[in-house]
């Protein structure tokens, strides 16, 4: 058993990847078992991720060398830099891995009933498993070209999943096409940036490049390309316009995974700025760029959300808005990275708020998208103008919606409040105006979700929805699990911050430890 667990980092990728290829074959014989296979595989992957998290948080970063004579041998005798593909899993990487594992598993559980009536399920689950594989890869790899490969797999599988319901109307296909174009642009830019690194340093390992980083003009260009396209893939304003299209047209469970996939790009943005460039770049300038992108995303995201009447488009704009909080928190940390006093005083806390918000957002936004999916599942519409009184028939969904809405609006004691409070208080010390804007955005977020709750759930029972029933058990189970996580994180935020978030932040900041994990010296 221990020899199998030793290979857990590889298995996290291999299991869903193998299941993805096995799914269409199984589908030939028994269509119904596909969903259970995907759920079982992703459940197993979640357990493996938890095991890796325990190892990383207790003993420090893990390296896994693919194809090497020894798993942890990054530099064989005579080599000055690693040449193999290496997974470098530190607290930040596994933090993201945990989010992906939870979200992908619950997406599969939710899909058992949600997608039951659809055709092409073998393709659906193959793509879901591929998307999960690629997200794990993006988060665990220490090799920048390997990152690009997983980034591409994520884009391709996401595009196909966004367009999955194209048989119903043309809109999913259009959303998929738009997503494909922006993904192609971003992939091209990432590849170009990798070429610039490889041309200068003959290396693709992130730690190796970081150790010799000169911040030349070419490095500056690579930074600009990476910051732009990764923030675009994270859904930051003004490059956010693909987000409402893609999020609203994808099946609900997939939208939840797409949110986590966007966060994987956000993680890459932070990994590049902190672990690859760190203090070689002008941290104040780049920090402020990230802060401004964050503030724009927060404000424009929420104000655009308020005027939407399509429930999923509304939530998609909120996803943009919430990404702004993460950019703001981590941007402040980057802006004060070269100022030890400010970093110690509030910079680390701001980053903790931003990073904690990533996890919180994945949970409550996932839950909200699932509730939107439940409404669509029973009513056949996403138009809030056509809904009303559904709390009479869908009491569980209404309750889960209240929990998710309260969490996203930052109402205590739910998890969104905990991370937002850290952001407000720490960012206030950096610049009070930014903190005030963040609070204002929270108020508008609450207003927006009050509108959704009123439109969809409150009011008298409408004649055409009198026969509507609560959604099937697998969908309730997925939503209930997320709701429990939200409440737990809200009641005991210090457990998460102290044991998971703080180590993740320190792993980002401490570039010397990141490089030394691969090149030795610790």
């Amino acid at each position: 058993m221990s020899s199998i667990l030793m290979h857990a980092p590889a298995l996290v990728i291999a299991l869903p990847l193998l299941a993805a290829f096995f799914t269409p074959i199984l589908g030939r014989f028994n269509r119904k078992t596909i969903s259970w296979l995907a759920s079982f595989t992703l459940g197993l992957t979640l357990l493996l991720t938890l095991f890796i998290a325990k190892q990383v948080l207790a003993n420090g970063p893990i390296v896994y060398v693919f194809g090497g004579t020894e798993i942890g041998l990054t530099l064989p005798f005579g080599y000055t830099m690693p040449i193999r593909i290496i997974f470098q899993i530190d607290a930040m990487g596994i933090f993201m891995g945990l989010i992906t594992a939870v979200v992908a598993f619950l997406a599969a559980i939710y899909s058992i009933s949600y997608m039951e009536q659809h055709t092409g399920l073998d393709k659906y689950y193959t793509l879901l498993l591929l998307l999960a594989t690629s997200m794990f890869g993006m988060e665990l790899t220490g090799d920048i070209f390997n990152f690009f490969v997983f980034f591409e797999i994520a884009s391709i599988s996401s595009v196909a999943l966004v367009a999955f319901r194209s048989t119903i109307s043309g809109e999913p296909a259009e959303a998929g096409l738009k997503y494909m174009v922006v993904s192609s642009i971003s992939a091209l830019m990432v590849l170009f940036a990798i070429g610039l690194f490889y041309g200068q340093y003959d290396a693709l390992n992130i730690a190796t490049i970081a150790s010799v980083m000169q911040f030349t003009q070419l490095d500056k260009i690579a930074l600009i390309l990476l910051v732009t396209v990764l923030s675009m893939k994270a859904g930051s304003v003004p490059m956010h316009m693909w987000t409402p299209d893609a999020y609203s047209e994808a099946p609900a469970a997939i939208t939840m995974v797409l949110v986590a996939a966007s966060q994987a790009s956000l993680y890459a943005l932070f990994r590049i700025t902190f672990s690859l460039y760190n203090v070689t770049l002008n941290t104040i300038t780049v920090g402020w760029i990230i802060i401004i992108l964050g503030v724009l995303s927060m404000f424009i995201g929420v104000t655009m959300a308020i005027i939407q009447s399509d429930i999923k488009r509304l939530m998609a704009y909120h996803a943009i808005s919430q990404t702004g909080y993460m950019l703001l928190g981590v941007g402040v940390g980057l802006a004060v990275l070269t100022n030890p006093a400010a970093l110690e005083s509030y910079g680390i806390k701001a980053m903790e708020g931003g990073i904690f918000h990533i996890m919180n957002h994945a949970m409550y936004k996932g839950l909200l998208f699932l509730t939107a999916g439940s409404l669509f599942y029973r009513t056949g519409t996403r138009d809030l103008n056509r809904m009303g009184g559904l709390a009479h028939n869908m009491a569980y969904t209404a309750t889960f919606f209240i929990i998710g809405a309260a969490a996203i609006a930052g109402i205590p004691p739910f998890n969104g409040f905990a991370s937002k409070l850290i952001i407000y208080e720490s960012v206030y010390q950096f610049n009070p105006l930014l903190s005030i804007i963040a609070m204002l955005v929270s108020i508008l977020t609450l207003a927006s979700f009050v509108k959704v709750f009123h439109s969809a759930f409150l009011g008298p029972q409408l004649e055409h929805y009198k026969s509507v029933q609560e959604v099937p058990k697998s969908m309730v189970l997925a939503m209930a699990t997320l709701a429990c996580i939200i409440v737990f994180f809200g009641l005991f935020p210090e457990l998460i911050v102290k044991h998971i978030v703080h180590p993740a932040v320190m792993a980002l900041i401490d570039q010397a430890r990141y490089t030394a994990t691969i090149l030795g010296g610790i």
Binding site: V181, V182, T228, T285, T303, I307, P413, I422
Partner: protein, 113 residues
Amino acid sequence: MHIGLLETGSGYWNALIWVITAVIIGIGVLWLRNKGQENYKKNTDQTKPFLSGNPEVSKEDSHVGASHIYWGFTEALKKYYEPLVKLHTGNINDYSGWIVLMMAIIFIIVGVS
């Protein structure tokens, strides 16, 4: 470490204390509510809404649709919303254009810094 105590950098937050306080306040509110008007009679005219003497609209017809909520807010911010909504063209060429524009802006900022 105290259970439930979150350090925020500037202070502390304890969700458990908040929950306990909210429950106590909630019980107090319920107690006050129960001490309310003694002449209240259920299902009589006094419980019906008074609309300047006009008959009450049926419940189904009185539900305010999503597009009408916050009408005043969006109307007051018309000058903000009109250009903002126009920017969201849904045209993929514009999406790509924004990426290029942002890249150029970041290029200038990082380049001169």
